[in-house]
Amino acid sequence: MSKNEMNWANIDTDPRFQALHAKKTRFLWGLMIVSMVYYFLLPIGTAYFQDIFKIKIWGPFNVGLLFALSQFIVAWAIAYIYARRANTEFDAMAQEIINDAHNIK
């Protein structure tokens, strides 16, 4: 099997690949934007919303600490959501294209 056998342009325009591309792009950009916005709220918050960060909610435990710890939870949640979606959906869609790639001429 030579690598030149593939017709990349036609695979690219194949509706199955286009569907994978569209789904993946939307999903990845969505997650990326959510995670970046959430992360940059931390330096912005510590700089401009210190009064909110100082509110004590559980003994000395304050909103600032809660927000910083929530960053970990959100990062893990995004990793989990992405991995789940990729494992169940994207991989299967890609596999279908791979199996059929030689026939797309």
Partner: protein, 670 residues
């Protein structure tokens, strides 16, 4: 005891306390234990190298461990590679000195992996082979992009590596008193043994072992710190808030503002932002460099070529995020625990940057400086720190060597026509060259200010590498012109901005501080707040930036005067406890005086920094907010101005392959 005796014993005592500091945190009688633990860990890694050396024959085995590392194993190895001494000792230290702000670093280091997971890991695994150069050369001119990628890889790795070598040398010296040069050479030789004989197989397993040891050590320490509070979070934090040492530290940090605060308010302030990071633009800039830089670090990219396929690459990032995130949550307890039990003042006395917080906390938790367990704990944490440096440096050397041998020698000089044997030989020779260079640089950089180097590595990776990798993967019109222009301008602007930033050493400022330490500061009048003359003024010191009002301060006496007073006062002290404290304070003052005098001698007659500036031109410590957009802009401009048929023709293939993994480099059959 008569006065004469006390006076006579003073210089001796302070001399011995200084000698003790120079000999390391471990007392002589416990050195054997330290060497035993170190020896054990080194022996273990040597065994791994011996075992790995029998498995490394081909280039794929040398650079990528035969692509046979599982996702979970690679996740641990990524954690081992990423949690460098700077990040685990450094962050625990920052938290122990500045509370909340130190913890903010942890968050950025973890969030960085979201970028790696979502946009970098899988596509790179699908289209790449061994190096950053392979990814960029896929659709762009292979020779041009390989040369520039190799230069960038070696630059970033050398920055990172120098910081590790110097930090490691200092750390080992502070902990167990081994000479700086000896520990740099020791780290260098060990790391070379792993890389040259065991290639990526040994490097990976050394990183895994180190990550496991680090996590175990941290869990044990956190359990010991937290247990007395019944594992209650508010209970533990209450302890922090009511600790006198921490309250004192906060008072010191906020100066006059502390005057009308209750002790409890001062303690609570430790859990609030703003004690360390004061410039919001700088914080955002740092965040950008962390979040985008990690995905552009060549030694991290390289790890994704060690797994069999994109699915395992994904799995490895998820594992890495779990381990790295979990570890950074623990640093909060390590840092606050160190502040609570050891005290910020004692931590600073050992190391100004707080790097000794975690090791000294370990010693305390084990039972203190004179107990067997205390010294065992200290030895264990020190050995893990040592293993960390060796493992991280090994990964960096491997990344540089692969750029040199695979990109430059095989790809450019030999035009991809080297035999398999020749390639492995080239890889081993390059590793030795990079390793020896690393040792030489490490020794030459002794006593230099290297704090800016890790930041510089992240900034170059974020401004030069990431825009190039990202746009070549996702933008159809990206081509060789953009890659070359973007990587050059992005990297150089990041380096140039750091060179004019406050991170560099400015002799005039050092001399002024030294004089203030020795002779004290005169009283200052209150200064009203200043308004900013524009956004540019917040970035560059060419016009007035916004400054808050300053209250008037009283004159402070210098260390020389304080010491004289203390020595005079000691004569009349009778309580042995009070006398002991006074002697300790005197020792600290003597140390301060010596350091100030050394600084004055060192910078005598100098007025400008390395690049000829009297004071920083850039107000930011982190250049990312300027250099990252510039890097992206130059890749885009370069691509639009340059015509490259190959880059256009290869787009379909690249895009299909990075999304599906068709024709991805497979695992070597065993």
């Amino acid at each position: 005891m008569n006065v004469k005796n006390i006076l006579l014993s003073l210089p001796l005592l302070s001399a011995s306390s200084l000698a003790c500091a120079a000999d390391g945190a471990v007392a002589d009688e416990w050195k054997w234990l330290t060497f035993l633990v170190f020896g054990g860990i080194i022996a273990l890694t040597m065994y791994i190298t011996f075992w790995a050396s029998k498995k490394v024959h081909s280039t794929s085995e040398f650079y990528a461990a035969g692509r046979s590392i599982s996702g979970m194993q690679n996740g641990w190895a990524i954690a081992g590679d990423y949690l460098s001494a700077a990040s685990f000792l450094g962050i625990a230290g920052l938290i122990s000195l500045y509370g909340y702000d130190g913890f903010m670093y942890s968050v950025g280091f973890l969030v960085a992996y979201i970028t790696v997971l979502l946009v970098i890991a899988e596509p790179c695994r699908n289209i790449g082979k061994y190096t950053l150069g392979d990814i960029l050369a896929f659709r762009n001119d292979p020779k041009k992009t390989k040369v520039i990628a190799a230069i960038s890889t070696i630059t970033v790795s050398i920055f990172y590596l120098t910081a590790q070598m110097v930090g490691g040398g200092v750390l080992i010296k502070t902990l167990i008193g081994i000479d700086y040069e000896v520990s740099v050479i020791g780290v260098g030789i060990l790391m070379l043994a792993y890389v040259v004989f065991g290639g990526m197989v040994a490097t990976t397993w050394v990183q895994i072992v180190k990550a496991v040891l680090l996590v175990i050590a941290s869990i044990v320490l956190v359990a010991l710190v937290w247990a007395p509070y019944g594992f209650s979070l508010p209970g533990f934090l209450d302890g922090v808030v009511h600790d006198a040492g921490i309250q004192k530290q906060v008072a010191k940090l906020i100066g006059n503002a502390a005057a009308n605060m209750t002790p409890e308010e001062l303690g609570q302030r430790f859990l609030e932002p703003g004690l360390f990071l004061k410039n919001p633009i700088d914080q955002i800039s740092l965040g950008m460099a962390l979040v985008l830089g990690t995905a552009g670090l060549p030694h991290i990219l390289m790890r994704f070529f060690t797994v069999p396929n994109a699915k395992e690459a994904r799995k490895s990032v998820v594992w890495a995020m779990g381990i790295i995130g979990g570890f950074y949550v623990l640093t909060l307890f390590l840092g606050l625990g160190a502040a609570l039990h050891v005290g910020p003042a004692n931590i600073v006395a050992l190391d100004k940057g707080g790097n000794m917080a975690a090791p000294i906390l370990a010693q305390y938790l084990g039972g203190g400086a004179n107990s067997m367990m205390g010294n065992f704990f200290l030895a264990f944490v020190a050995a893990v720190a040592f293993a960390t440096i060796v493992a991280v440096v090994a990964g960096l050397v491997l990344a540089s060597a692969s750029a040199m041998a695979h990109d430059i020698y095989v790809g450019v000089i030999r035009g991809n026509h080297a035999s398999a044997d020749e390639q492995v030989k080239a890889a081993r020779i390059s590793s030795v060259i990079v390793g020896v260079v690393a040792i030489v640089i490490g020794i030459m950089a002794k006593g230099q200010n290297v704090a800016h180097l890790v930041g510089m590595a992240f900034a170059v990776a974020a401004s030069g590498n990431l825009p190039a990798v990202f746009l070549t993967l996702y933008w159809k019109k990206c081509n060789t012109g953009g890659i070359v222009l973007g990587m050059l301008v992005g990297s150089f602007s990041a380096i140039a901005l750091v060179m004019i930033s406050p991170n560099m050493t400015y002799p005039k400022a050092v001399i002024k501080t030294a004089h203030e330490v020795l002779e004290g500061t005169p009283a200052k009048d209150a200064v009203p707040a200043k308004t900013s003359e524009g956004f540019v003024c917040e970035l560059f010191a060419v016009c007035q930036n916004a400054e808050p009002a300053k209250t008037a301060t009283e004159a402070k006496s210098g260390a020389i005067e304080k010491l004289a007073k203390l020595n005079a006062g000691m004569v009349t002290m009778t309580d042995p406890g009070v006398l002991e404290t006074a002697k300790k304070d005197a020792g600290k003052l003597e140390k301060d005086i010596k350091k100030a005098q050394d600084d004055l001698k060192k910078f005598e007659g100098q007025t400008t920094s390395l690049v000829g500036l009297e004071k920083p031109l850039l107000r930011l410590k982190n250049p990312g907010i300027l250099s990252i957009p510039l890097g992206f802009l130059c890749v885009i401009l370069g691509s639009l101005l340059y015509r490259d048929k190959r880059a256009e023709e290869m787009w379909d293939e690249l895009y299909v392959r990075q999304n599906t993994g068709i024709h991805a480099e497979g695992a070597t059959a065993h």
